[in-house]
């Protein structure tokens, strides 16, 4: 029983981080119809900034406050998004999709090396924050408390995002723009502003994902590219542009991955990619997408 619970918690942990990345990716696609190949690198950027900021203040701040410092990663990723959208993406909305994919691929390459340039080739870690929380006893097993905190943060973020999109004025404007950009524009919505806000929000979430995994996994080069593909799988399963879909997809991928690691480690990744391919074939719009 305990092992089942532990596996379930691991799946949830994985799903929480994936949702933060995939939710942002999906939000950006839903509003702007852009598949951001550099999204994983914004997640990695959040992780690096968080690790760097915590490292700077490790000696001067009490541990409890250091957890708040992690948020700098999310803020930095959001700020980067706010700069990138108007400068690089905005000139491309009227052009073919191929170019939008390519420019985000170029951005992926640039960000990957920019992180190498800024923080060097070695991983950054802040495991002090991970260890400071200690661990819990679940039956006869022990489980790191920090992992539970990540699950809680992921759940809170999902709830906050839902409230934001469905219960605020801004959310109405966002959904209107997503459904029909021209009509929203004709009704007086400043589409450019909505786009930059949506992109910033998406990047903020990715950065938050990076910031909360840093104490557990550290920040390493290449983490963005790996995360991007899994976020893709999530988004494809759930439906491009659907937040509920991203949540369901993240849970499904989290569970399958946990099962995979336990029972079929060789083909764990292959199964995930195949799941995405099968969903695309059976329901191209995803489980929760609008056709």
């Amino acid at each position: 029983m305990d092992t089942v619970l532990i596996h379930l918690l691991n799946a949830l942990l994985y799903a929480a981080v994936l949702f933060l990345i995939a939710g942002g990716l999906s939000l950006i696609y839903g509003v702007m119809r852009i598949v951001n190949l550099a999204h994983g690198n914004l997640y990695a950027f959040g992780a690096y900034v968080a690790a760097w900021a915590v490292g700077l203040m490790l000696d001067s701040l009490p541990t409890a406050l250091l957890y708040l410092v992690l948020v700098t990663g999310a803020v930095a990723a959001g700020a980067l998004g706010a700069v990138l959208e108007p400068t690089l993406l905005r000139p491309l909305y009227r052009r073919a999709e191929e170019y939008q994919l390519l420019i985000t691929f170029g951005l992926l390459l640039i960000l990957e090396d920019l992180m190498r340039l800024l923080w060097g080739p070695y991983p950054l870690s802040v495991s002090a924050l991970y260890e400071a929380m200690g661990s819990l006893h679940i039956g006869e097993s022990i489980y790191p408390t920090y992992n539970l905190a990540v699950i809680v943060v992921g759940g809170l973020a999902a709830a906050a995002l839902w409230a934001f999109v469905y219960r605020t004025q801004f959310g109405v404007v966002l959904r209107a723009t997503s459904q029909n950009m021209r009509m929203a524009s004709a009704l007086g919505v400043n589409v450019n502003r909505v786009y930059v806000q949506a992109f910033t929000l998406g990047c903020f979430m990715a950065g938050l994902g990076g910031a909360i995994v840093v104490p557990q996994q550290g920040a390493v080069l290449g983490m963005g590219v790996d995360a991007l593909i899994l976020a893709f799988v999530v988004v494809v399963i759930g439906g491009l542009g659907s937040l509920e879909g991203a949540l369901a997809g993240a849970l499904l991928v989290g569970i399958v991955r946990e099962l995979g690691i336990t029972f079929f480690p060789e083909i764990e990744l292959a199964v995930l990619y195949l799941m995405a391919a099968v969903v695309l074939l059976v329901r191209p719009a995803g489980l929760f997408g609008r056709a």
Binding site: L88, L92, E98, G106, L109, I229, L281
Partner: protein, 329 residues
Amino acid sequence: MNPLAASPARLARVALPVLAALLVVPFVAAPYQTVLLCYGLVFAIAALGFNLLLGYTGLLSFGHSAFFGVGAYAVALIVKYLKISSMEAFVAGGILASALVAGLFGIVCVRYTRIYFGILTLALSQVLWSLAFKFFWVTGGSDGLRVPTPSLLGAAIPGRTDKIAFLANRYYFYVLAIFVVCVALMWVIVHSPFGKALQAIRDNETRAEFVGVQVHRYRWVAFVVSGVYTGLAGALWVPLNGLTTPDILHWTFSGKIVFFTVLGGFQTFFGPIVGAVIYNYLETYAVGHTVYWQLVLGVVLVVLVLVLPSGVVGTASRLGLWRRRAPSP
């Protein structure tokens, strides 16, 4: 499309001097430069195949690494399990394996277009990547598989010491011959009724279907031809590299193939070829001069998309036309 591009006389005027220059290279350039060019020609074959889908059929694949990798791994597995090291067997194996995989992937992929096509090809190519990565007892995992120097047309296998001389001379000509055949064949394909049908599908799928083009079947054939070209390139690449690793199956390698093609210009026939050769030099020199080579390539790509979307060849031919028109008002 440029209406002048299709005339055979114009083709000969461009292609023959280039071919002559390519034939002379091994005699005048340093072996290293020839080998570098050889890589470029191999990538050009891949890009040529890729562009049958992007430029002529209007489908952006983000999974062509699958075919390149299948071609390369087919060769490596032939060496490992059949103990054969004849280049002809490698080429045949690469073509067969990539045709098989492209045929299977094609059945599911051609039903979709636009972003769904891109993601589907990406997901399927990642399946192969993860299998190559995890099944280490077959594929060597991240260490990859070694491929020894092959024998060409039944000739004796050269010794270890003169491998570079072999690659820069006999192997170069071998690749060049295949390259010429590939270019000629692709030229025939895109100017045939089949090629025109693909362009009709690209420009307007509904109308193409209305005039009797079997859209899915045509797309499938284009997909397989495209995959085989890229797979053949993979098979030719392995002996050059001496090693195949899962990197060439990863989706970022697909991104590179897209990069070649857009760098040269995907709306022209020769664009992908030029793009692949230029990209190869660009990457080799960037890697040689800085650890931040991805940054260099990324900046080139971003500038390219923003400033020169029709690529090197597209821009050059547009400038050429513009100049020709300019004197006669």
